[in-house]
């Protein structure tokens, strides 16, 4: 138990199976047997391509969906036990998510100031310095309060809305922020500012961030630890530098091999096929049969086989 208290969040053997269809139901395993810990004040990247299960993990932590099996602990407390409205509200004061599509998040009929009002009303914060704090968080995310507050969501750009989402989370003073592809809609020149902001917040306020992304360069830039997901499973995890410098799992290798990077060109001779990785992974599991999820070095773990 002590181990789980130290971590702000602990995920143990988490699985999620989606069922679709009524008469001939089809089962999709979105997340399978995933375990990891998040220490306070750190940023952990959850890296994977579409369908890898990374967003599902975010949703499970946010209690938007229920796990099929496995446990999630927030400061040692099983979040499944959070059931009544008040407890849930307390949980959401501390654990918040921001998602990729900012257009879908905001009510198009509400002006920005009303969105902030709603946080104050529904979570019952002290309103004495409300205006000042709202202005502060907006400036923190590089938005001009006077030009933002009176506007409707459609009058703001995608990037501005995204920053508004972060401002909203900042206002709430959260412990764990789940940032799902948070900056993939932002431009290169503005997203670095948002990333720096996230790191500063973890350093200053001790907030932890689960940074869900498909962009390896961004993951490397901000995270202390990384989790690589492939088809619902955690295939490699641990110290970011170690994973990036010496990837072991064939899927991780393929990812690093395909990321476009300035200063390093793709090998034009190499026949690159995204589909090839399926076979490579199968072979890798066969070769390493029986090893399971094991250490490849200090704070570096690899899924060697699925037996």
């Amino acid at each position: 138990m002590s181990e789980q208290v130290q971590n702000v969040m602990s995920v143990r053997n988490l699985s999620k199976v989606f069922k679709s269809g009524v008469f001939k139901p089809k089962y999709t395993v979105a997340v399978q047997d995933v375990s990891f810990d998040i220490k306070p004040g750190t940023i952990i990247s959850l890296i994977g391509e579409s369908g890898s299960g990374k967003t599902t993990i975010g949703k499970l932590i946010l209690k938007l969906i229920k796990p099929s099996s496995g446990k999630i602990y927030y400061k040692g407390k099983d979040i499944e036990e959070i059931r009544n409205k008040d407890e849930l509200k307390e949980y959401y004061k501390k654990v918040q998510g921001i998602f990729q599509d900012p257009f879908a998040t905001f009510n198009p009929l509400y002006r920005v100031d009303r969105i902030f009002d709603m946080i104050y009303d529904s979570f019952g914060y002290d309103k004495s310095n409300k205006e000042e704090r709202i202005h502060q968080v907006l400036q923190d995310v590089n938005l001009v309060p006077e030009r933002t507050l009176g506007k409707f969501p459609h009058q703001l750009s995608g990037g501005q809305l995204q920053r508004l989402l972060i401002a909203r989370a900042l206002l709430m003073d959260v412990d764990v922020l789940i940032a799902d592809e948070l900056i993939s809609m932002l431009d290169a020149s503005t997203r670095i500012g948002v990333l720096n902001l996230l790191v500063e917040l973890t350093e200053k306020k001790g907030m932890s961030v689960i940074f869900i992304t498909h962009d390896l360069n961004l993951g490397y830039y901000i995270s202390d630890e990384s989790l690589i997901m492939y088809k619902g499973r955690l295939v490699e995890s641990g110290d970011t530098k170690k994973i990036y410098e010496s990837p072991v799992h064939p899927y991780t290798k393929m990812l690093f091999n395909s990321v476009p990077e300035i200063g390093k060109r793709w090998d034009p001779e190499e026949e690159f096929l995204p589909e090839q990785v399926i076979k490579d992974v199968e072979e890798f599991y066969k070769e390493n049969a029986g090893k399971g999820f094991a250490a490849a070095g200090e704070n570096h773990y690899v899924l060697y086989s699925i037996d």
């Binding site: 391509e49 990037g159 290169a188 020149s189 670095i192 990333l195 360069n217 476009p260 990077e261 300035i262």
Partner: protein, 328 residues
């Protein structure tokens, strides 16, 4: 061979709305040579997609204002719709942004392709589909995709189908608008290299590759042009633009790119403060001056295109003074 396929001279295209004019493409000149991939980079709202729409179809409120566009020597700005339609797919083709969402969910891929090409006056007969199958092989897709519904295909597979359709008549010039941005990294690499391979094989002629992602352009483009807020910023050979950018905007853009090997803990990258200006009724002057650390009085006037060396051009009054001063 340096034959020019597309020549754009001082092109202006504005969105005319009730409040005035949005100057999204303002005085843009460029030429695309036969067989080259020219990358067009810039952030959202810089006018890169508007430039593509100006070339292909100007739908209100987008209006062509002035300037010249010659495709294979023919003035396509003042051409009738019918005449231009004849050039579509054969001479000029576009892979539009969000093409992935253009599939009809109730049509099988085969029907979708057939309907689409018949609109362009091509008969979707056996022979046609033989060619489609050949191309499917080229993009490493199984022929069975033709009998599948769009929802059965992944994003990367759909993008490959789109590429097959848009290149089916071996166009001499193709505009690829953000074709990699909605894809996974592994598919990004595949699709981007595929475009280069199609060009290498002579299936397509030249490419205008529009993207916000400079690191992809670094992989496949021979030259890169950068736009900012509707204005021309800088153009030059890829290695020069990436390795020796001269415009303060290009410099800032490149130095803000995270790459493997750079961690926040070791080196803090800096972005560009502020946001691009609104292009509505925007006046004279360098449009980057509001965010530029080097802005001075002279920047109130619109900078003229200036030559740095052969093939490397810039629009900045102060590039020589700024010199190698890096933004980092």
């Amino acid at each position: 061979m340096n034959e020019t396929i597309l020549e754009i001279k001082n092109l202006k295209a504005y969105y005319k709305i009730l409040k005035g004019e949005v100057k999204a493409v303002d005085d843009i000149s460029l030429e695309i040579r036969r067989g080259e991939i020219l990358g067009l980079a810039g952030e959202s709202g810089c006018g890169k997609s508007t430039l593509a729409s100006t070339l292909i179809s100007r739908k209100p409120p987008l209006h062509y204002i002035s300037g010249e566009v010659k495709l294979l020597g023919q003035d396509i700005m003042n051409m009738s719709k019918e005449e231009f339609q004849k050039m579509r797919l054969k001479n000029i083709s576009i892979i539009p942004q969000y093409a992935l969402d253009a599939f009809s969910p109730t049509k099988k891929i085969r029907t979708f392709i057939a309907d689409l090409v018949s609109e362009h006056g091509i008969k979707p007969d056996e022979e046609f589909f033989e060619k489609v199958k050949e191309r499917l092989d080229f993009v490493n897709l199984d022929h069975s995709v033709l009998d599948r519904y769009p929802m059965e295909l992944s994003g990367g597979m759909k993008q490959r189908v789109i590429m097959v359709i848009s290149t089916i008549l071996d166009p001499e010039f193709i505009i690829a608008d953000e074709i990699t941005s909605a894809l996974d990294v592994s598919s990004q690499r595949f699709v981007a290299t595929l475009l280069a391979r199609l060009r290498d094989e002579g299936i397509i002629g030249s490419v205008l590759f529009i993207t916000h992602d400079l690191s992809i352009l670094y992989q496949i483009a021979e030259r890169i042009m950068v736009m900012y807020a509707g204005h021309f910023v800088e153009i030059g050979p890829t290695d020069e633009i990436i390795g020796n950018p001269c415009h303060p905007y290009t410099k800032a853009l490149i130095s803000s790119l995270p790459r493997v090997g750079i961690q926040y803990k070791d080196k803090k990258l800096s972005g560009i403060k502020g946001t691009p200006p609104s292009l509505l009724n925007i006046g004279e002057g360098c449009r980057f001056r509001f965010r530029c650390p080097y802005a001075a009085g002279e920047c109130e006037e619109t900078p003229q295109r200036e030559k740095i060396n052969d093939g490397h051009y810039i629009a900045c009054w102060r590039w020589q003074e700024i010199g190698s001063d890096s933004n980092e």
